[in-house]
Amino acid sequence: MSLRAAVVDRADALACDLDLNHVKEWLAEVPGRKAAGYLPVYAPRELIAAVGMLPVGVHGGGDRLEIIKGDACYQSYICHLPRSVVELLLAGRLDCLSAVLFPSTCDVIRNLSGIWKLQKPGTYVRYLDLPQVLDPSIGVPFWTMEMEHVLGELAELAGCEDPKGGLRQAIADYNAVRERLQVLYAHRRDRPWDIPTAELYLLMRALESLPAQTWMDLSADYLSAIEQEPGRPRDNCRVVLTGAFCEQPPLGLLKTIERAGCYIVDDDLLQGNRMLQGPVSTDGDPVQALAEAFIYTSVKNSVIYEDDPDGKRNLMKTRVEAARADGIVFAAPSFCDPALLDRPMLRAGAEAAGIPCIAFKYAENTGQFQPFREQAGTFSDSIKLWGAG
């Protein structure tokens, strides 16, 4: 087996491990270890790692889970993610998580925090109100205070005596991760034929439940593999994929878009991994440093209030230019408020800038890709024929 295939297989196995067996193995290695989950989109996982717990992204069951109990908890007009999370929860498949953080992504995630409290009263559940006011004089003290609170409670749960020291280390570890992600994303932007998005996605997904250092090794192997086995360029157009920051599309959908002739050169898949765009300062108080990093460097996202009146209008143009893309694929989960309420603003700005766009909706368990193939194929052909703008 090639190195690339070995890395991708390992990442795929982690993504498919709905019983979190790999987490349980990690827990069993050292008695007393604990793991803490977090829901999409962004939770400061450094806080979890700081107290010696393993941060584990909770992303539902994708297209590999039959939903029975989850459907009894959610009406048909709610997105798919919470029903598959509840399915896993009620089946006891997430019982190895001693704590779960629910960031203020949307009202569905918010209400899910209450369901978790009701269903698993023994678990530490914390709703995390991300700072929506990015004015530093308001946002930094607020976010510092919130994270101090959570760090203190997690430290107590984990029996950690020096959470701030742990946080300094965790920040350094995740700074390295952020840098590596930038390398991977820049490589895919420049040579998308080397890094198919489905592979990059799996690698990112592995980051959602591996310790930072283990992931660094895995991603280093992947980088070596693409050096050894570069891909061959194809006559594809280049697109930005946006709207898929929370409920994740099935892998088949990502492959379909690329096979239909659209290289994905920028995306917001698993965006929490790349929420902070620069390194977090390792000087001074680490909680404040993490708070400042959020206020000053967080990526523009549908779940955070946009303060700049022109922000929504300009965002897609900026992203398209940075990725040297030809067009945009708006791909949002059905019934996803943040993505779908943002879409008219983002699309109007993109179209005003002459950027070709297509839009569709999916669910994490979508199984039929033919309509997407046709739509993406036609889009790619039209861009190649008429050019972007």
């Binding site: 409290k117 607020f142 205070m145 943040p338 603003m345 909706k361």
Partner: protein
């Protein structure tokens, strides 16, 4: 009188006049130069806004009125033509459609442009997007007032301080700027005193439903009762007067052993006492109500009437702590309560109001209310031993109101309740 029209109480007539004159004042605002602040019902800071001589506009109230007046279908279609998804909150689409159709408000008068968008972020994610969308159309400042969610069931002290800080450092300076007036804490305190008076009377009205027969319907009638306090009239002398009058009417009904007026006539014979969770449907409001009143079902408590404040839990605006009380108010609106607290509130209502059943009206487009309602249903059933009913409608999109289907479900539910009562 058509079948669905009802006899009107004096308070209803008064409310209609108050609303009409408010909209007239709004229409004249560009000439009178009264600054206009758009804001939301949960977490509305009417006393503060009015203490600067500004006029509030509540987009949700406009949307629901448009729904009641048969205008929402066209507005929603207009918004969808502009790329808005069929999956999202129909209040937003109704409002956007209204704006794109000339911004003629529900009473037929033109709504002025806002001088300020006050994004009071109190328990609904959609609020954020709603005002981002409106801001695309209006060249005016926006203030984001971030009210932390009560994830652990309380407004934590540090969160309260955070809200006060934003009021002081962001909102008040902005109101000073758009109004040209200085912050006057005494004027605010006077308004808070009017609020507190009105809140006392409102609580007396809502709690009158503990009587049998209940003198009010706390859902369909309740939405009228909370109208003034949820919209422009909290913290005004006329608002306080309205609630005094309403309370007197309700107390007179209690004394006479009378039920409320409903589309089926006065409901003295009440076969079922219900607790209801979720917003009502506005496009078929009377028809919907009649499905209950025809069966002799009276709603004795509802959560929707608490989205603009949970006064029956003891909260009153406190003139002695003007900014602190506004923070407490914002934190405690029903939309800002966590799911276990919502469950507990429903269970308390079932017990305190001696309900025979509880019903959830799940609206398709509102994740804030709807996501988790099936779990609420299961949990309340488990704790109270009372069977819950579940129906699905929408707020203002008439396409999602299926009368035959809803009637069927309600009839089966009432039959089940009747059978239980017969056995008991």
């Amino acid at each position: 009188m058509s079948q669905l029209e009802m006899k009107k109480d004096q308070s209803m007539v008064l409310q209609k006049q108050m609303i009409a004159s408010h909209f007239e004042r709004l229409e004249q605002a560009p000439e009178t130069k009264e600054p206009v602040v758009y804001t939301f019902v949960p977490g509305n800071l009417t006393e503060l806004i009015r203490s600067f001589g500004c006029l509030p506009v509540l987009p949700e109230i406009n949307a629901l009125q448009s729904g009641m007046r048969g205008k929402s279908r066209a507005y929603i279609r207009e918004a969808e033509r502009h790329g808005h998804s069929e999956d999202v909150c129909t209040y937003v689409k109704c409002d956007v459609g209204m704006m794109k159709s000339g911004n003629i408000g529900p009473t037929g008068t033109r709504l002025p442009k806002p001088d300020l968008l006050l994004l009071s972020y109190t328990g609904c994610y959609t609020f954020m997007k709603w005002f981002e969308l409106l801001r695309e159309e209006y060249d005016c400042p926006t203030v984001f007032l971030h009210v932390p969610y009560q994830g652990d069931g309380v407004l934590e002290p540090q969160h309260r301080a955070y809200v006060i800080k934003q009021l002081k450092e962001k909102l008040i300076p902005m109101l000073e700027q758009i109004s040209g007036k200085e912050f006057d804490e005494e004027a605010l305190a006077q308004r808070l005193a009017w609020s507190s008076q009105a809140e006392d009377d409102l609580v007396a009205v809502l709690e009158a439903a503990k009587n049998s027969p209940s003198p009010i319907d706390s859902y369909f009638g309740g939405v009228y009762y909370v109208g003034p306090i949820f919209s422009a009239f909290r913290g005004t002398a006329e608002g306080a007067e309205y609630y005094k009058l309403l309370r007197a009417e309700v107390e007179a009904r209690v004394a006479a052993g009378q039920g409320p007026e409903t589309p089926s006539g006065r409901l003295d014979e009440q076969r079922f006492r219900l607790v209801v969770e979720g917003p009502p449907n506005w496009t078929h409001f009377r028809e919907f109500w009649k499905m209950f009143s025809d069966e002799g079902a009276c709603v004795v408590a509802s959560t929707y009437t608490k989205v603009g404040g949970t006064y029956e839990r003891g909260f009153r605006h406190d003139p002695k702590d003007p900014l602190g009380t506004l923070a407490d108010y914002c934190g405690g609106c029903y939309t800002n309560l966590n799911l276990p607290d919502r469950v507990q509130m429903l269970c308390d209502y079932v017990t305190e109001y001696a309900a025979d059943g509880f019903l959830i009206n799940s609206v398709k487009s509102c994740n804030s209310f709807s996501a988790g309602q099936l779990v609420i249903l299961q949990e309340v059933e488990k704790r109270t031993g009372i069977p819950g009913g579940f129906i699905e409608t929408d707020l203002v999109d008439p396409r999602y109101f299926s009368p035959a289907n809803i009637k069927n479900r309600l009839e089966s539910y009432f039959q089940m309740l009747a059978a239980r009562k017969a056995v008991a």
